[in-house]
């Protein structure tokens, strides 16, 4: 299954287009992530995709030093954040620009741009975060 076949296909399509879009229930306004075709909170099936600014805070992070399989496009070490997107609370994994290896702090504000990661199956869009 490709990423364009799942419920989060609009996320990937938008990200490739340079925008962050996230899903919300039109009926009860609950943000839905992982993406789904219906709302587990109110059972409505009217999911609306909303463009969000690339603003977030650090929920948690790790810095990878070991060459795991399928990380060949990353220069070691690389720092990953779980970023809590502003205004919606959805958490997304992203790359953190960390040239000086300064440990992130939980709650620290982030601003993002969209880049891409080369994988054996082609390019994948990804959010690159930097500290505000």
């Amino acid at each position: 299954m490709s990423r364009f076949d799942g419920p989060d296909a609009p996320y990937w399509e938008a990200l490739e287009d340079g925008r962050l879009m996230l899903p919300r229930c039109s009926a009860c306004q609950t943000w839905i992530w992982p993406a789904a075709h219906r709302c587990g909170a109110c059972h409505a099936d009217d999911v609306q995709w909303v463009e969000m600014p690339l603003e977030a805070t650090v929920f948690t992070w790790t810095r990878t030093w070991h060459r795991f399989g399928l990380t060949e496009d990353f220069e070691l070490p690389f720092t990953t954040v779980l970023a809590e997107i502003a205004h919606c609370g959805i958490r997304l994994l992203g790359n953190l620009e960390d040239p000086d290896r300064v440990d992130p702090e939980i709650g620290q504000r982030l601003t993002g741009t969209i880049g891409s990661t080369r994988t054996p199956d082609g390019e994948l869009p990804v959010i690159n975060w930097s500290r505000v």
Binding site: R3, W12, W33, P34, F59, T60, W61, T62, R63, T64, W65, H66, F68, G69, L70, T71, D73, F74, P77, F78, T80, L82, I90, R91, L92, L93, G94, N95, E105, I106, T117, T119, L124, P125, V126
Partner: protein, 389 residues
């Protein structure tokens, strides 16, 4: 009313074959067959009469393929608990008991086999179960990295002292050093080996991570009544719970904030204690699945042995060892120091401990908690005892 699982089934025999990763003398299925035969010999039970099999963690050995070598007369039950990691390990015993208590099978083997040449690296297999483009795009392609995210939140948000993992690791190696079957047998463990081991994914260094071994483990479960007629003293299952609570699961790291830095096992532990009418104070010894040491800490917290606030008072070396500790943990050495065949060594040690056969006996132990793989989407735990309390 007593819960139907309480004391109604028992483990009658165990078999464990463990080798260095990449060094199994036998192919994977052959090694598994040998472990099953060992378990049956331990119980004094004819392997041909085993009529059910249960596994977990995407084991590749479909039970029907074992029949010719075991001489199985009729296969009546085969099942596996969902999930790519060790989350389902304890749940496998509940599935087996379900078959026995409902009359669908009489003698069920719970097993796990892993030989690198056949199944590849276990960490890669677990990850293949979960891998998606969100993970690929960010280079988060290993269980270690995902568990590291949770560990950092445990330490930096919930304020648990990162140093307490050292006590868990030291206790594991202390036990392993006295277990002839352990990879760490006879070796003195210097904590500097952990502190100076190479960084994998912060906060994890190499020695914070479980190892991988080639091997196979099998446990024979039958009804309590049948177990009482077999060769070894029965080790009864008092309870088993598997599943996940709302807000926990395969959620792209979007678990409820209050659950994020946990093992995901709070609801499992609550149900297990309710159904057995036991409390953490009734548990004499714990076999704790630790894929990573911080996840082991989270599991002990979820199972009610301590809290974020007092974890450092409870998770102390002296308190975790069989020689006088109030909370002896991983008395074979566990996944860190005995060896790691996707956790199957842990229930085997639970049985040996409750029979008095452990290399690190806990005097007077009557109950043993098997805490399954922490941090997995589907998780499970079980309680065993050498008498029905």
């Amino acid at each position: 009313m007593t819960h139907p699982l309480y004391g109604s089934t028992a483990i009658a025999g165990v078999g464990l074959r463990q080798h260095k990763r990449g060094h199994s003398p036998l192919p994977e299925r052959s090694l598994l067959v040998e472990a099953v035969i060992d378990a049956c010999e331990d119980a004094g039970f004819d392997p041909a009469d085993v009529d059910g099999f249960v596994s977990y963690g995407d084991d590749k050995n479909e039970p029907v393929r074992l029949m010719p070598e075991l001489g199985t007369k009729e296969l009546r039950w085969s099942a596996s608990v969902w999930g790519g990691g060790g989350g389902g390990i304890a749940g496998a015993f509940g599935v087996a008991a379900g078959a026995i208590l409902s009359g669908q099978a009489k003698a069920v083997v719970i097993f796990r086999a892993l030989v690198e040449g056949a199944s590849g690296r276990m960490s890669a297999a677990v990850m293949a179960h979960h891998l998606n483009d969100h993970l690929l795009a960010t280079g988060m392609t290993s269980p270690a990295q995902l568990c590291a995210l949770r560990a950092n939140r445990l330490f930096h948000h919930h304020g648990v002292d990162p140093a307490i993992v050292e006590d868990l690791v030291r206790a594991s190696y202390h036990h392993g050093s006295r277990n002839p079957e352990a990879v760490s047998y006879g070796k003195e463990f210097d904590i500097d080996a952990l502190r100076q081991s190479r960084m994998i994914a912060e906060p994890f260094r190499l020695f914070d991570c479980s190892r991988e071994n080639d091997g196979a483990g099998a446990l024979l479960m039958v009804s309590a009544d049948l177990a009482e007629t077999l060769a070894k003293p029965p080790v009864y299952m008092l309870g088993c719970a598997q599943g996940a609570q709302a807000g926990w699961g395969d959620l792209l790291e979007n678990d409820d904030e209050a659950l994020f830095a946990t093992a995901g096992m709070r609801s499992i532990a609550r149900r297990l204690y309710e159904e057995t009418r036991l409390t953490p104070a009734d548990i004499d010894v714990v076999q704790l699945y630790e894929n990573f040491d911080a996840q082991g800490v989270m599991s002990l917290i979820d199972h009610g042995f301590c809290t974020y606030e007092n974890a450092a008072e409870v998770i102390r070396f002296d308190n975790l060892i069989a020689d006088g500790g109030a909370l002896p943990v991983n008395t074979s050495g566990g996944n860190l120091a005995q060896g790691f065949i996707h956790g199957i060594g842990l229930p085997i040690e639970a049985v040996r401990q409750l029979r008095g056969e452990s290399s690190n006996p806990v005097p007077g132990a009557r109950t043993c908690l098997l805490a399954g793989g922490p941090g997995a989407p589907t998780v499970s735990s079980a309680i065993f005892a050498n008498e029905v309390l």
